[in-house]
């Protein structure tokens, strides 16, 4: 009897405990548990889609061609094989791979120096110093900034051809001086950090335009240079179309264009297209070596992406969106 009389009460208590938990849950998360589970499911699915190929790429160079077919796709072979895969790649064209890696860093470094040193003063002038043509220049910057880089590669080839720069390292360095995204980012940065009142006050105190750039603009620029560098780094490092078109000499190629040479000469993707016999033992450039090339060419940008996500988002949208 007692139990029977308590049952509805216990049920009610259970219901109210459940609804209290539900209320607490919704108060804490803002969404009901089913929506939360749906969100979790999508995150897990998309994480698998985005991350599994990356993990595969990183572990693939640890496996021989045979192990790739036999072991589970995400299994690690042996770390020693990475060294062997590197050694096989270095047998291709007398170790030209190390030169491609050096070229990539060299071109990107000089390109960064050039683009940032041109973008900072230009962005400062557009934001702070009144001069005729300021507005048209800003418009030109915006229009050029939004044109995809690959749209101008073909005519730029012709221009560089007549400037006698094709097949020289300068063909991949000098065009970096035109960095409209950087100019616009700097323009926005100085507009925010140097409001008109501050500029007017500096002028009343006798500060000339150039002293304002040197004593206020340059020290402030330290905060924006990171964004410029990270934004431009990814673009310069991965630039493939220009590298493929502007440089014919295999020794002068940067890494992404070098990869194209290896896959065109050696195949390596399909088991039937293995064409490079590197030594008397019959070693060849196959899938593990191609995957190692992928890791080497991606790693620098991956590190930059992992470290400077917010800055790259700012660069990708040229600051049009506030984080």
């Amino acid at each position: 009897m007692t139990t029977n009389s308590l049952s509805p009460k216990a049920g009610m208590q259970k219901d109210s405990a459940l609804s209290a938990w539900l209320r607490r849950w919704i108060f804490r998360t803002g969404i009901d548990p089913m929506t939360w589970l749906l969100r979790l499911g999508v995150i897990v699915l998309m994480s698998v889609f985005y991350i599994v190929p990356l993990i595969w790429l990183i572990v693939a160079p640890t496996k021989t061609n045979q192990q790739m077919a036999e072991l589970p796709p995400l299994a690690i072979g042996s770390i020693e094989y990475v060294g062997k895969a590197w050694a096989y790649l270095m047998q291709f064209l007398s170790g030209v791979l190390s030169r491609w890696i050096f070229n990539s860093f060299y071109y990107v470094s000089l390109g960064l120096i050039l683009s940032i040193s041109f973008a900072v003063p230009a962005g400062f002038a557009l934001a702070v110093i009144p001069f005729r043509l300021r507005r048209p220049l800003l418009w030109m910057t915006l229009l050029v900034m939004l044109v995809p880089g690959d749209a101008l590669v073909l005519p730029m080839y012709m221009e560089l051809f007549y400037m006698k720069l094709i097949d020289t390292q300068w063909a991949l360095i000098v065009p970096a001086a035109s960095f409209p995204v950087g100019v616009y980012l700097v323009f926005q940065y100085y507009k925010a950090t140097m409001p008109a009142d501050l500029v007017a006050a500096a002028k009343v105190d006798g500060c000339s335009d150039i002293s304002m750039f040197w004593y206020i603009g340059v020290p402030l620029a330290r905060n924006i240079i990171g964004t410029l560098a990270f934004t431009q780094f990814a673009g310069l490092w991965g630039g493939f179309f220009a590298a493929q078109l502007f440089i014919d000499n295999a020794v002068l190629k940067p890494l992404p264009a070098g990869i194209a040479i290896i896959v065109s000469q050696c195949g390596g993707i399909l088991p039937t297209t293995l064409r490079c016999i590197l030594n008397p033992e019959g070693h060849t450039i196959a899938r593990a070596e191609i995957a190692l090339l992928g890791v080497i060419s991606t790693l620098p940008v991956l590190i930059v992406y992992a470290l400077a996500q917010r800055m790259i988002i700012r660069g990708a949208t040229a600051g049009a969106i506030k984080e």
Binding site: M46, F131, R134, Y157, M158, F240, S297, Y305, Q309, I321
Partner: protein
């Protein structure tokens, strides 16, 4: 003689002297302007001039070709085939990229927690893979004999690479690759924008009885819509210019490739330039790309309001 203006309480100001004063604004901007004229505006103008010129052993005879280069390119069936390829690719890749990025970003923004921050960071990483590495990696990923996704492929009845990666599916394969590369970056961008929606606005909507889905659709979505147009136009323009991924696939697979060497206009243009050394025809392809690019950028600047050109004089 210099004209002098005198204001009460001021010393004499020489107008001529004022005009001659060096403007440092111009000096600071000159290096960039020269670079932009040389490497952005210059090539576009050069393409226009060269498209009407004839070339003998690399030497141009300016404006003697008339419309010959245009006629030759239009008569080349590869030109329209290349545009047909990239237009179809652009429709599929842009639609999937746009719908996928916006939907996932809205779903992530339903609540603020560590999981959302984790997702944003992880989804962003594939954007770092360089073009050649990406194309090659996807050839491995879509091979049922190697791929970690092989159980799914086997369920779909694919046993070998060519079962899915073939000329009939070229658009789909290229779109999957583009989605993998681009969507994470856009999700991160939209998510960052959605996080910027003011807490007061969200609270007010909640008090008015707005649930999480209505909140996402009616309050959060409009915040990013202006920027979505920027994204869509940029994606279309970028997709029409595609070169790296199809070029690498065509090169890597050789005779077995499902992508032909003139699959995209930029691939065709590079063939005209490097193999035929015909800068005239190459210029015509370049002009078609420049027209699309500049039209899209003019549209973004004038219509989307995503960028500001306000300056104080």
């Amino acid at each position: 003689m210099a004209t002098s203006l005198t204001f009460p309480g001021q010393s004499t100001v020489s107008v001529r002297h004022k005009r001659r004063k060096w403007n440092w604004g111009v000096a600071l901007v000159i290096p960039y302007v020269i670079a932009a004229l040389l490497f952005a505006v210059g090539p576009a103008l050069l393409a226009i001039i060269f498209s009407f010129s004839e070339f003998t052993a690399g030497k141009p005879q300016l404006f003697v070709a008339g419309l010959n280069n245009y006629i030759k390119v239009i008569k080349d069936p590869s030109f329209f085939k290349a545009y047909w390829n990239v237009i179809r690719f652009s429709i599929v890749a842009t639609t999937s990229g746009f719908v996928g990025s916006v939907a996932i970003a809205l779903l992530l923004s339903l609540t603020r927690d560590q999981l959302g921050t984790y997702a944003r960071s992880v989804f962003f990483l594939p954007g770092s893979i360089t073009g050649p590495a990406l194309a090659l990696m996807f050839l491995f990923m879509l091979d049922p004999t190697l791929s970690p996704f092989s159980p799914i492929f086997h369920l779909l009845g694919w046993q070998k690479l060519a079962d899915f990666v073939n000329s009939g599916n070229a658009i789909l394969v290229m779109s999957v690759i583009r989605f993998y590369l681009m969507s994470g970056t856009w999700i991160a961008i939209f998510y960052a924008a959605l996080e910027g929606v003011s807490a007061e606005l969200i609270e007010a909507a909640k008090i008015d009885g707005c649930g999480p889905w209505r909140l996402a659709w009616y309050i959060r979505r409009p915040v990013i819509m202006g920027f979505v147009w920027f994204m869509v136009i940029q994606l279309i323009a970028n997709n029409l210019m595609i070169f790296g991924e199809p070029y690498l696939i065509a090169t890597a697979m050789g005779g077995a490739s499902f992508i032909d060497p003139f699959w995209s206009p930029n691939m065709l243009g590079s063939y005209y330039t490097l193999t035929l050394a015909n800068f005239g025809m190459s210029s015509v392809v370049a002009i078609s790309q420049i027209i699309i690019s500049f039209s899209s950028s003019i549209f973004i600047v004038t219509k989307t309001g995503a960028f500001t050109t306000q300056v104080t004089d």
